[in-house]
């Protein structure tokens, strides 16, 4: 069934402005329904989105508004009930589980809200984890060490998660999300557990990743501070996009020195 975008008087919003670069992932009229206890819950009621390289998008909205569902769709963890999601032009609904898994590995880096670090692995090994099966241990180790140094944990390589503070765990989780050189970083409350200084470091790191490596960052956040740093803020309410505030600010069109 095709949802009527105007069914309750709101236009289906859009995450994407017209951008020169090709989008990494683009969704058109995306609907996502869940069945819980015999009832069908419509988490997304027809949204359009488009994420291009080096974008920094903050998704805000009350809980239950569909933010996590949107993040799951962007992360290829789930497929839309209707509408179309295209990853670099390919319809993701045609992917087999194996292809989906592979694309996820190639394209997406996740930073989960509760980190999900593996307690039996050291900080370094946790960062290496996504590439542990690649049989390139030396290269992986170098890259992981480099990433941990970059997030300021060069002196905590051999610490286990229970020996790290919340902020340190968060930074390990971010380093881990970058080990596969993703095109998009999906971060659920990336600064939720951090003090302002560390939060600033994370945001600086995001900027660096965007300018140096063209990584797009999509974050779900309640933190206005993060939202202010983003160049687009998307407000989701009740499965619809209510508002897209575009700043298109900082690095891309910044004044030349």
């Amino acid at each position: 069934m095709t949802p009527d975008p105007d069914e309750d008087g709101f236009d289906a919003g859009t995450l994407g402005e017209t951008i020169a670069t090709d989008p990494i992932i683009r969704g058109t009229d995306v609907v996502k329904e869940y069945e819980t206890g015999g009832q069908i819950v419509r988490a997304l009621k027809g949204v359009d989105f488009s994420i291009a390289p080096a974008d920094f998008v903050a998704v805000v909205g009350p809980s239950g508004s569909g933010k996590s569902t949107l993040l799951n769709l962007l992360g290829l963890l789930d497929v839309a009930t209707s509408g179309e999601v295209r990853l670099r032009g390919e319809d993701v609904s045609t992917f087999t589980d194996r292809e989906q898994t592979r694309k996820r590995k190639e394209t997406i880096g996740f930073v989960f809200q509760s980190f999900y670090l593996i307690p039996t692995l050291t900080a370094l090994e946790n960062v290496e984890m996504p590439r542990m099966l690649d049989r390139t241990p030396t290269k992986t180790r170098e890259r992981a060490t480099q990433l941990l140094e970059r997030v300021g944990l060069g002196d905590r390589l051999d610490h286990y998660p229970d020996e790290l503070s919340g902020g340190q765990k968060q930074r390990v989780a971010i380093a881990r999300s970058l080990i596969n050189d993703p095109d998009i970083l999906l971060a659920d409350e990336p600064t939720g557990n951090l003090d302002r200084d560390t939060g600033d470091q994370i945001l600086e790191l995001f900027d660096e990743l965007r300018s140096d490596e063209n990584v797009a960052v999509v974050t779900v956040t309640h933190d206005d501070y993060v939202a202010e740093a983003a160049d687009r803020v998307v407000t989701l309410i009740d499965g619809r996009i209510r508002d897209t505030e575009s700043r298109r600010a900082n690095f891309e069109e910044g004044p030349d020195p």
Binding site: L77, R102, K105, Y116, T120, L133, R135
Partner: protein, 393 residues
């Protein structure tokens, strides 16, 4: 890069699996213990059973080319008839098998054996034989070729009553004699299945008996010159042409029967041992299911980061297989140790393993590992098929 790092890099799944197991040490240890019990059960029952069989089969050595002849006892009108072989029967046996040696055996009913102090030896049987030295080796003392007026006793009779050569026993055989004999020799242990039940027997020289009735005769053929099969057939023709008068059994046949019987018993016991491995499989499946549920979100993270289902299955199956392998690694030496103890006890040599016995240890190891692997499959499959979205909620 140190060797351990290298190994971790080469076999990341195994390294991850091992660390995951170390998370719930007690639970892993219990699962391992279950496998150990199973492997030990199969291995020890197998090697022990083989040692026991060897021990019993030794009793048949020296009985090649030998058959026993017994009257086919009938029960008619409340009376037992045809209970013994007469002197005439023995003569006919000798005629039918001219190349064989025929040794009549007295096995009197109503014989009692007492020590000097008057203790009755309930378990001891009395048999009259011309020369036990033909079949048996003496453990202590000597069996003279011209054996008269002394007795030779089986190993269990000696052990149970603490008897040595030189001691005396009083033997009473109804209607025959009642006198005291000096023990000339104690025989080597023969095992419970020995053709004459030698371990529990007090051998009295046949010359002590006056009656001409024999309960059994031993027919012996020198296998280099004659055939026990022919002798058996000749006896059958002579005695059993019209009706069954005697039962002829080759010791070799008895040995085969024993082996077959024992094989069945041993297989049954190993089956019982295998049940303990089945229990181990249930334990491991349970351990792995719990691990999979506990780590659901972690597995979801692996999947989110691009681990294919297959990798998750490998990881969990590796965990359960490690449990099985560790259990087998602990269980196998234990089973061998128990086997060595049984070998020492029964065969006098701790290393007297037979190929068949060792095979059971091998089977135990293989079963232990394979059951663990199979037990891990379902939990692993279940964990791998959980959608990461659900697992991460």
């Amino acid at each position: 890069m140190n060797p351990l790092r290298w190994l971790v890099g080469r076999f990341p799944t195994l390294a991850l699996a091992r660390r995951n197991l170390s998370r719930a040490t007690l639970r892993s240890a219990l699962a391992v213990a279950a496998v150990v019990i199973g492997v030990v059960a199969i291995g020890a029952i197998g090697t022990g059973g083989e040692a026991f069989k060897q021990d019993q089969l030794e009793a048949y050595e020296g009985f090649g080319g030998t058959a026993t002849v017994e009257p086919d006892v009938q029960f008619e009108d409340g009376n037992l008839t045809n209970t013994e072989l007469s002197d005439g029967d023995i003569g006919r046996l000798r005629q039918a098998t001219p190349s064989a040696t025929v040794l009549p055996v007295h096995e009197p009913v109503g014989a009692t054996v007492q020590t000097q102090a008057g203790t009755l030896l309930f378990m001891a049987r009395v048999k009259g034989l011309e020369n036990p030295g033909e079949f048996y080796e003496a453990r202590n003392g000597t069996i003279s070729d011209n054996w008269r007026r002394t007795i030779v006793i089986g190993s269990r009779v000696a052990e149970q009553n603490d008897l040595q050569p030189g001691d005396r026993l009083r033997v009473n055989v109804t209607d025959e004699f009642d006198r005291s004999f000096e023990i000339a020799a104690v025989l080597e242990p023969q095992g419970f299945s020995a053709p004459l039940g030698a371990d529990q027997t007090v051998f009295v020289p046949a010359s002590e008996f006056e009656s001409d009735g024999y309960e059994q005769a031993i027919v012996r053929v020198d296998t280099t010159t004659g055939s026990i099969d022919e002798a058996t057939q000749a006896i059958e023709r002579e005695f059993n042409a019209r009706e069954q008068v005697v039962r002829v059994e080759q010791v070799q046949e008895q040995r085969e029967q024993f082996e077959a019987f024992f094989g069945t018993v041993n297989q049954f016991l190993i089956g019982v041992g295998a049940i303990s491995l089945l229990v181990a499989a249930v334990t491991i499946a349970n351990t792995m299911l719990m691990a999979a549920i506990e780590r659901e979100s972690e597995i979801g993270v692996l999947r989110a980061y691009g681990y294919p289902k297959r990798a998750v299955v490998s990881l969990l199956v590796a965990e359960s297989t490690i449990l099985g392998a560790v259990g087998a690694a602990i269980g196998a030496p234990l089973a061998l140790g128990i086997g060595m103890a049984i070998n020492q006890l029964l065969l006098g040599d701790p290393l007297a393993f037979t190929a068949a016995g060792l095979r059971y240890v091998g089977i135990g190891i293989a079963f232990g590992i394979v059951t663990a692997l199979i037990a891990g499959l379902y939990p692993a499959w279940k964990a791998a098929n959980k959608r990461p979205v659900e697992a991460l909620d």
